[in-house]
């Protein structure tokens, strides 16, 4: 008995076979012309949308090159800003300052962000704490950057002393820690002192590169956390089971299998977060503050490209306006180079046929 699906009569056709399709009929030809038209129309719309998205980026780049390239010279990359009225000068200290603040922000923000994402995806499924963290991350993502600047100002710049009375019994253990000779470049605006009443923590007192780095790090965390979680969620469960089934402990499975499989997406998330904060001005206004001179210390106000661009662009001098354009161009090129380098580095060692 043949029960081939292709020969089974349609259930509502009284057992009759459907008439074979006449591919030459007028209706079929119209149909195919219509589908052809729709196909091309929708493809065209998609291409148009892509152009609309890319066009502003290209326009900005071209305009930046047009306005800024003429002010770029060696002095721009080697000199600090010149005093008002003097020609020349550069943004060398701002480029270095942005570098320092962004490296600090990445060192603080990326590990925390990835760790939180790992918790959400691998350990916190269905837990209340995970839902709370997810919600917090989403809200944090929406906090205006100026608010972040003010919050970090009040935490790490405004001078405050905390009396850590509960550390009183351990004050002798803390003494050698406080005697540690931290190099001046790495000192941060947090110091301990001990007196008869206990241990004191002194925070802030001045603007600092450290406060700027922390502000940017906090802005990076929610993006990284959520992309890490989403990327880990796309790792097939079967792969985790494969590792667990080989007697690999759960932590090892997460580190070497889940994270490794999701790493291209996680790296993309980190780069997105990095590129986003690299151009932030508002959170640095109240934290890193800016500096017209060289600064190599985390404990001092430091220059940053967005801050310097802001100062130059607000000024009444044409010379400074040109420098602001040049600075913007350098900032965008720096972000593009950083993102590209990480992408090249991350795609090395990918095997043939790996998905």
């Amino acid at each position: 008995m043949s029960t081939n699906a292709f020969h089974t009569p349609p259930p509502n056709g009284e057992g009759e076979m459907r008439a074979p399709m006449d591919f030459q009929s007028r209706r079929m030809r119209l149909n195919s012309a219509w589908r052809y038209a729709v196909n091309h129309a929708v493809t065209g719309l998609a291409v148009l949308s892509t152009l609309l998205v890319v066009a502003p980026l290209v326009a900005i780049l071209v305009y930046l090159v047009y306005m800024g390239a003429s002010s770029l010279n060696v002095a721009f990359f080697t000199h600090i800003p010149a005093p008002v009225g003097e020609p020349g000068g550069g943004m060398a200290n701002s480029i270095l300052g942005s570098g320092i603040v962004l490296v600090l922000a990445s060192l603080l923000g990326i590990p925390v962000g990835i760790a939180a994402g790992v918790y959400l995806a691998e350990f916190g499924r269905g837990k209340l704490l995970a839902a709370a963290i997810r919600f917090t991350a989403d809200v944090l993502n929406g906090v205006p950057s100026i608010v972040m600047g003010i919050a970090i100002y009040s935490m790490l710049v405004f001078p405050e002393d905390f009396h850590l009375w509960f550390l009183y019994p351990f004050r002798h253990l803390l003494a050698p820690l406080m005697a540690l000779n931290i190099p001046p470049a790495l000192q941060i605006p947090m110091t301990f002192s001990v007196d008869a009443t206990g241990v004191w923590l002194h925070v802030g007192g001045h603007f600092s590169a450290f406060a700027g780095g922390v502000a940017l790090a906090i802005m990076m965390v929610p993006t990284i956390t959520r992309t890490t979680e989403e990327m880990l969620a796309t790792v097939p469960h079967a792969i985790r089971e494969a590792a667990l089934g080989l007697g690999v402990p759960k932590w090892r499975t997460v580190m070497s299998v889940s994270l490794k499989t999701a790493s291209p997406g996680i790296i993309t998330g980190c780069m997105l977060a990095f590129a986003r904060v690299a151009g932030e001005t508002a959170p640095l206004l109240f934290t890193a503050f800016g500096n017209q001179f060289w600064s190599f210390r985390l404990n001092e106000p430091i220059a940053a490209l967005p801050l310097q661009i802001y100062i130059y662009a607000m000024s009444p001098y044409d010379e400074w306006h040109r420098l602001a354009w040049a600075g913007s161009l350098v900032l965008i090129v720096m972000i593009m180079v950083a993102v590209t380098l990480v992408r090249i580095y991350a795609s090395r060692g990918i095997l043939k046929g790996a998905s």
């Binding site: 079967a238 792969i239 089971e241 494969a242 590792a243 089934g245 080989l246 299998v257 095997l351 046929g353």
Partner: protein, 252 residues
């Protein structure tokens, strides 16, 4: 060498669903044992209880005694040590996509911190030979990703990966159900060769497959084990009416 498994009063739950109800079973060492039964009858849950993979699901739990040799796997050992002694091959090939063929096979050792290159090389070669894949992949062991192989090759690589940690028991959860007939027959040949050295438990929907590779067969239905006997007897002269109905195709 393989080791026998003694299952006494094994019960398992997913949430409130009582998936396995009072299973008692003796799986002999160095033999292949097939588990058959309709979908959802608990065969997969049963094998997952034998290497404590069942409990990786947060809502799952199990009770009862599973003795491997003379250790009770739920009392005397951690899940991690049990899983190193009881290898598992899954229904769908699940290679690690970021790893080369070599790293896939060596993963059980490498991820557990084993670093001796000479021994790793030797283990990878021996395991791939045992799973009849060596000749096909020996030239691009480290160049190609494990995910670039065909489905049948991937599954043999997964078997090699399980063998590389030198288990005593090999659990196979429908290892050939996602494969074409040629690959299936290669896997069956492989099971036939491996069972002299390992205790093999294979879940299958394919009754001919059970008849071809296994000395003993158990029939599961609705979370209970209806009958367990030599494969010959199950397929020619089952004691239980339900077994007979199932193998003659009257349901399931």
């Amino acid at each position: 060498m393989g080791v026998g498994i003694n299952v006494e009063h094994l019960n398992a739950w997913y949430g409130t669903t009582h998936t396995l109800q009072d299973i008692n079973l003796n799986i002999p060492a160095n033999h292949a044992t097939a588990l058959i039964g309709p979908s959802g009858c608990g065969k997969s849950t049963f094998v997952r209880c034998l290497n404590r993979m069942h409990e990786t699901n947060p809502i799952a739990r199990a009770s009862g005694v599973v003795k491997m040799g003379d250790i009770d796997i739920y009392k005397d050992a951690s899940p991690v040590t049990i899983r190193r002694r009881v290898g598992m091959v899954f229904q769908r090939p699940n290679p690690f996509p970021t790893m080369s063929i070599y790293d896939n096979v060596a993963s059980g050792l490498k991820l557990n911190g084993f670093r001796n290159k000479a021994i790793l090389d030797e283990t990878v070669e021996r395991s791939l030979k045992a799973s009849a894949l060596w000749e096909e992949v020996k030239d691009d062991l480290k160049k190609k990703s494990g995910a670039s192989l065909s489905g049948g090759q991937q599954q043999r690589m997964c078997i090699a990966r399980a063998l590389a940690v030198d288990p005593e028991v090999l659990l196979m959860d429908e290892p050939a159900s996602a494969l074409d007939p040629v690959s299936t027959s290669k896997i069956e040949d492989l099971i036939f060769q491996l069972k002299s050295q390992y205790t093999i438990v294979i879940v299958t929907h394919n009754m001919q497959q059970a008849a071809r590779v296994a000395e003993n067969t158990g029939f599961f239905l609705n979370g209970k084990m209806v009958e367990f006997d030599s494969t010959d007897r199950i397929f020619t002269n089952p004691k239980d009416k339900r077994t007979e109905d199932y193998i003659t195709g009257r349901f399931g």
